[in-house]
Symmetry: C2
Subunit: 203 residues, 2 copies
C-alpha cells in the first residue's frame, strides 16, 4: 500500500498537490495535513512512504517538523515544498535530513517525476547541498556563550552592550560572534538571528 502524506497550510495548494500526487503511478493513497503538529500526530499511527511538506507553516515549522520526524523515525522520507524566498529554510531542512525539495512553481511533471523517483528508490536523496553550516542533519551546536551572544543580538544589543552585560570585552564578543556566524552559515547578525529562530536556538 503506497501512501503519500501531503502537508501544506494553504487549502488550495494542498488540494492541488493531493491531486497531482494521486496521478503518480503506484500511489494508492494520499492523505493531507495542514501543519507540522498534525504531521507528527498522524505519523505516530499512520506512516506514509513519503511526505511532501511545506517549509513555512503556521505553528510548528517545516524544519523543526523534519527534525522531530527523523528523530522519531530516521527512515522517514521527506521532500520539502518551497517558494523561492525560503532558500535558507530549504537548506536547513535538507541539512536536517529531508531527501530533497521541490519548488512550488515546479511543473506538475517535475512534481510527479520527483515523487515517482523518491518512491521507486528508497535511498534517493538530493546530491548533498553545499551548505555553509551543518551538513550533519542536526542543528549546529552553539556553545553556551555563543547562544548568549546570539540572544543579545536578538534583543538589539550592540557587541559592546553584550560585552558589558556578560562582563566580556567587546573584542571577545566579536570573536564569539564570528564563530557562531561560521557555525550557522550566517552572513551577518540579522541573518544569524533569523537562523537562530529557524533552528529554534533562540526565541
Amino acid at each position: 500500500m503506497t501512501s503519500v502524506l501531503v502537508c501544506d497550510d494553504s487549502p488550495l495548494a494542498r488540494e492541488a498537490l493531493r491531486r497531482a500526487v494521486a496521478t503518480v503511478p503506484g500511489v494508492e493513497r494520499v492523505t493531507t495535513a495542514t501543519n507540522g503538529e498534525e504531521v507528527l500526530r498522524r505519523w505516530a499511527t499512520d506512516r506514509s512512504d513519503l511526505i511532501l511538506m511545506d517549509v513555512r507553516m503556521p505553528g510548528l515549522g517545516g524544519v523543526e517538523t523534519v527534525r522531530r520526524l527523523l528523530s522519531a523515525d530516521p527512515g522517514a522520507r521527506i521532500i520539502m515544498l518551497t517558494v523561492a524566498e525560503d532558500l535558507d529554510g530549504v537548506a536547513l531542512a535538507v541539512a536536517a535530513g529531508a531527501r530533497g525539495y521541490l519548488h512550488k512553481d515546479a511543473s506538475r511533471a517535475e512534481l510527479r517525476a520527483t515523487v515517482a523517483q523518491a518512491l521507486a528508490d528508497p535511498t534517493w536523496r538530493l546530491a548533498p547541498r553545499r551548505l555553509r553550516a551543518a551538513e550533519m542533519g542536526a542543528a549546529p551546536t552553539l556553545t553556551a556563550r555563543e547562544i548568549q551572544v546570539l540572544e543579545g543580538m536578538s534583543h538589539g544589543r550592540s557587541n559592546a552592550e553584550i560585552g558589558r552585560e556578560l562582563f566580556l570585552s567587546e573584542d571577545t564578543v566579536k570573536t564569539h560572534a564570528r564563530r557562531l556566524f561560521k557555525k550557522l552559515g550566517a552572513s551577518d547578525r540579522a541573518h544569524a538571528v533569523a537562523l537562530g529562530f529557524r533552528w529554534g536556538l533562540v526565541r
Copy 2:
C-alpha cells in the same frame, strides 16, 4: 467554579506553579498544559477563569498563543510568565492583550497576590506599558515593501543587495528599513528580524 490554567513546558516549573496557584483562596481547580497548542485545544472545551502562560515555549510560542486565544475569545484573561531575558516577548504579549506578567523568580507571595488580584477583578490589567511599537494589541502593521525588506534582512542580505533584488536604490531600502525599525521598536536589523519572528511577520 474558579479554575486556573497553568502552561509551561518545564515540568518542574509547571508543578511548582500548579501548587502555588492552588493555595490561592478561591481557586478550586488548577489544570496544566505544556505548550500553546494544548492551551488552544483545551480552551475550546474548557475555559478557565485565568491562564498563566510562559512566554517561551516550544512549538507555538506565548505571544502567538495569546493572539489566537484572544481572537477566539476576547474575554480571556492571561498573565504571562517570564524570565528576565524575555522582555521583548512580554512587551509583545501584553501589547497583544495579556493582562500582565510575572517574573519567574517572583516570590510565591507575589505570584499568589497577582493571581488573586486578577481573579477578584475581571477588569484588572497592568498599567499599559509604554511600548515603542503597537499599543493596540495587534502586530505592528508593516507595508508590503517593509516586509520584503525585512525578509531580505532575515536572509542575510545587505541593503544594497536588497535594493538590487527589488530594483530599488540602496537609499530607498534604508528608508524602508528605518521606518520598519520604528514601527517594530527595533534598535537594529538583528533586533528587527527577531521581532519579525516573534510577531510571526517573517519565517
